[in-house]
Symmetry: none
Subunit: 129 residues, 4 copies
């Protein structure tokens, strides 16, 4: 029984939120390899959105290689398909951009370098708890 928080208002598209939520669940190991996702109809009903919106989220995950879609059968999770280039650094431009923006907002709230380092450590600890 999969639970995903979705903010129906707000600027982030619903299909993105659903994709993000499922991606996180996969990353957290909530699915065995080959496990079935709920049908677009079920998940749509549960979350309170249209089935097409869920379908779009599934399509995104499929393009990322995290989910396998086939007509006639349930969507399946592919945990094995680590599309990791082993040498690729985590801190690529996109990650750098996201983090810099966060840091600037924190600095403007008065944060220091060490406070920021601490908040990051806390966030990671929380995530892996």
């Amino acid at each position: 029984m999969l639970s995903i928080d979705v903010d129906l208002d707000g600027p982030v598209p619903i299909y993105q939120q659903i994709a993000d939520g499922i991606r996180e669940l996969i990353a957290r190991g909530a699915f065995a390899d080959g496990a079935e996702l709920p049908s677009v109809r079920h998940l749509g009903a549960q979350v309170g959105v249209n089935l097409n919106t869920v379908a779009r989220a599934y399509r995104i995950l499929a393009e990322e290689g995290l989910v396998e879609l086939r007509r006639g059968t349930a969507a399946r999770v592919l945990t094995t398909s680590r599309n990791a280039s082993p040498g690729a650094p985590l801190l690529d431009d996109e990650a750098r951009r996201r983090l810099s923006d966060l840091f600037s907002r924190w600095v403007l709230r008065g944060a220091t370098h060490s406070e920021i380092r601490r908040a990051l450590r806390d966030a990671a600890a929380e995530y892996f708890r």
Copy 2:
């Protein structure tokens, strides 16, 4: 002479990128308190976007309390107006959401907790360099 990188393609709205860029410059101390921002016309011409787009970026920063807008005069930077509630933790829900999403993507690329901690430390060090 303010320099901002704007990616005209990509999903991030241009006005957001401009606001983000200026916010970062303010956070980095590029402006004295009360310093004037370039006019929307100048900045628009320099960046190569419509003046309304720049105006919208300024409005966002004004709503955040980082910039003061008055008709007829240049926009002024307000570094002192920390709109921070002193006790508010850095790691609010929005920050948590952004970081969790980043962590999930990293985990799916095979990252471990300690690799992630290291990447975060590096990012902060880079930012404050």
Copy 3:
């Protein structure tokens, strides 16, 4: 003992892949005229798909005149029933459409006319090897 590669993922319907695979085997002369195809049960079990899926593939081949289906007996290959109008050119609209699409993709990868001609020659040589 017939061997067919089927990609259970991917956008191509399984029954199509099976039909394509058998068609290629027939074209390559793997069957004497009147030879029996494996039962839908056997082939389905071997390939790992539902028997209805195999049955649908056989039906397609029957509609093309390549296979004869009769209730109660094994499906038979009909190599003689060339359903070709003798004068019909190979390069019909459908073939033209398929090749044009391929050419466009190649051109956008930087290919020239002569490189494309060479790739086509190679493909044919490979096929008939």
Copy 4:
């Protein structure tokens, strides 16, 4: 005035046909770099399909890097973004699969190796005419 043939029935999704058609026009040099595509509304009306269907075709081309989409402005063609890995051979598995299927069908219509080579040469000549 862009003209695209679309078969509203038939198994190929309309959005795919539209994407294929535009890709071919781009490959044929019908667009200068940065040229504007018709709006999803206009093209939809012209072809006789819903605007969402056209939007999906545009999204596909954007993901291929052939088209640049931005809210508020017309879709732009990017001919320069050759995403060609210089060393990559034209005849990859997908191309091989497509061509093999075509060859099998031709062989079953009685074609010989040399007739097939000729048809391929003709198709390329036609395409580049």
